[in-house]
């Protein structure tokens, strides 16, 4: 029998705020342990949480970006459990009245489009971080109380690759919207994976198996690549699967059972009495809506349509937002936006990368840490984006050969001078004066009797030798198209 996988993801994302969810402690990563803590986030008796307005805004903004409905009323609840990283012995979350529900994410998958429905995105708080030692464990509460968004998908995913692409699309949206930096290294995104298998084409769901606390997208893909065939194998061998929680062992590349449903938690949810419900007013919602951004996929499609760019170029500009913005400014009024895109991607980006690599090496030799270094970025360029468009224009109207344009670009990059001025100063304008070219062509033919004879006897490729000679004589400034025409005419005469 053939089986298919049914996968749903719960993605936890730390929100990009200055302060924590319920107190004024800083929301930062990498501080010494237990230095961003206060009586509220340490769960001392008698303290009261007060909701961070920006976290609520980012939650609702996420809902809007994920096409969710924003209910008129949301509230907070306590999820009760005992664990060392939860100081209060409960986590504040949104149980039955979340801030957003019922959306979807569209993304590119295997050459087509895919859609995953979003059940809800609700606001909660992160917990402390456990450090494990040989004989005991130690808890750091710096992370406790950091605003955390849980984005729950419907079980619409059918493969490890699809889950991976969905997570990347989700991350792109969150980074675009300024919701979260989504820095995996800093644990800003974590994932719980629910996966079951069923006979292909079936409608029921198999025993749901949860893989907890994944901290990388590639880990999710590898865990599913292992887990799906494992479940199928159990069923094909006549075994049964029971609802359970498993752990992904990244080093071993396997999942292991942690607990089965018999020991499932009873969280005894109840409304958080210390927090008031949230009912966004029309003005408040309008202010959040004004922060909506173009979604990554829409941006990519717009670049392809408006500027007639190939998918590869549009993808570059989707992934590098400032570069895409630079391109759009440079392409304003350009006759050939595709040519401008080529220059931005192939020349400008490469030149910047080269410069930055050199600057990093220099600063490293001075003993600077990476975080203290400064380097040239798009906003530090000495020439405006319009200058790049002008340069492309000079190539398009045949004033400049493409090799001469490279020289002009280097000069622009170093000095910030306008392309037309550089062409003038250096005498780089392409020679299209027929009289001058005729003389050069005569000289080249005389200097290459062999190739000239070859061409006349039908070996047309021999023309390139003579053409090359003309280009050399003109120091690269001869208009190659014209040279070709003149040579052909002369040799056929």
């Amino acid at each position: 029998m053939e089986y298919e996988a049914v996968i749903g993801l719960e993605t936890h994302v730390q929100l990009k705020t200055q302060s924590k969810m319920w107190c004024g402690c800083a929301n930062t990563f990498g501080s010494p342990p237990n230095t961003n803590v206060c009586p509220v986030c340490l769960g001392m008796p008698g303290v009261l949480p007060v909701a961070n307005e920006e976290a609520l805004r980012l939650t609702v903004l996420t809902g809007l970006l994920l096409n969710c409905e924003i209910p008129a009323r949301a509230k907070f609840d306590r999820k009760n459990y005992f664990y060392p990283d939860v100081a209060k012995n409960y986590q504040i979350t949104q149980y039955d009245q979340p801030s957003t529900r019922g959306g979807h994410v569209d993304f590119e998958f295997q050459g087509g489009m895919a859609r995953v429905r979003i059940t809800r995105a609700h606001l909660e708080e992160d917990v402390g971080k456990n450090n494990h030692f040989d004989r005991n464990s130690g808890v750091d509460f710096n992370r406790a109380g950091v605003p955390l968004l849980e984005i729950v998908s419907e079980p619409d995913l059918t493969s490890a690759d699809m889950a991976y692409e969905y997570l990347n699309a989700l991350k792109d949206i969150l980074v675009y919207g300024g919701i979260s930096d989504c820095d995996m290294e800093k644990g800003m995104v974590r994932c719980d994976v629910n996966v079951s298998v069923r006979p292909k084409g079936g409608t029921g769901l198999g025993a749901k198996i949860e893989i907890k606390n994944m901290n990388s997208f590639s880990g999710v893909r590898r865990a599913l690549t292992y887990e799906i065939p494992r479940q199928i194998e159990v069923l094909q061998g006549g075994g049964t699967l029971i609802q359970s929680t498993r752990r992904w062992d990244d080093a071993g590349g396997i999942t292991e059972e942690m607990r089965t449903k018999e020991h499932a938690h009873d969280y005894r949810y109840f409304p958080e009495p210390d927090l008031m419900p949230f009912e966004p007013t029309p003005e408040w919602l309008a202010a959040v809506k004004s922060r909506m951004v173009e979604l990554p996929l829409a941006r990519k499609q717009r670049f392809m349509k408006t500027y007639e760019l190939p998918a590869g170029d549009a993808e570059v500009f989707k992934n590098d937002v400032p570069l895409g913005h630079y391109f759009e400014t440079a392409a304003q009024g350009a006759a050939n936006p595709k040519a401008v895109a080529n220059w931005v991607i192939n020349n400008l980006r490469a030149r910047l990368a080269e410069t930055q690599a050199r600057e990093i090496a220099e600063q490293e030799s001075l003993g600077l840490e990476r975080s203290d270094m400064t380097f040239t970025g798009l906003s530090d360029l000495k020439f405006p984006p319009q200058a790049l468009r002008d340069l492309v224009g000079l190539v398009e109207n045949q004033t400049l050969s493409s090799s001469a344009a490279q020289q002009v670009f280097v000069e622009m990059f170093e000095t910030g001078k306008a392309p037309a001025d550089i062409v003038q100063e250096k005498g780089l304008a392409q020679v299209s004066d027929t009289g001058a070219l005729e003389a050069l062509c005569d000289e080249a033919i005389a200097a290459n009797p062999g190739p000239a004879a070859d061409y006349r006897s039908g070996k047309l490729a021999a023309l390139n030798r003579i053409k090359g000679h003309v280009m050399k004589l003109s120091q690269g400034k001869a208009n190659p198209g014209l040279v070709g025409e003149i040579l052909e005419r002369k040799l056929r005469a």
């Binding site: 961070n52 920006e54 409304p271 419900p277 009912e279 408040w284």
Partner: protein
């Protein structure tokens, strides 16, 4: 009415409260009485009544997103029975 029943042992475990058998008896009886009251309330028609999460008619209590000074590490760990390396040390956590 059959009378509602709550598993006191289970609830006490979930709340990490240790009860003597006598306490379990007493509390079990009292909790069952409370559940019986709830059963009676279920008989009321509340279809036109909004659920109340809070007795105060107050919504949207929020603070601006501004970071403020936190406690010092020493101060934060003052109640910890076994602090070490800036951490709250606890028995080894096994998942």
């Amino acid at each position: 009415m059959a009378g509602a029943h709550m598993d006191v042992t289970d609830v006490a475990h979930l709340a990490r409260i240790r009860l003597t058998p006598a306490e379990e008896q007493t509390l079990g009886r009292q909790l069952d009485q409370i559940l019986d009251y709830m059963e009676q309330l279920k008989g009321l028609d509340v279809s036109g009544v909004e659920p109340t999460a809070h007795p105060f008619p107050l919504v949207n209590v929020m603070r601006p997103d501004e970071a403020r000074p936190s406690l010092s590490q020493d101060e934060a760990l003052r109640n910890a029975p076994a602090p070490a390396n800036g951490l709250f040390m606890v028995p080894k956590i096994v998942e």
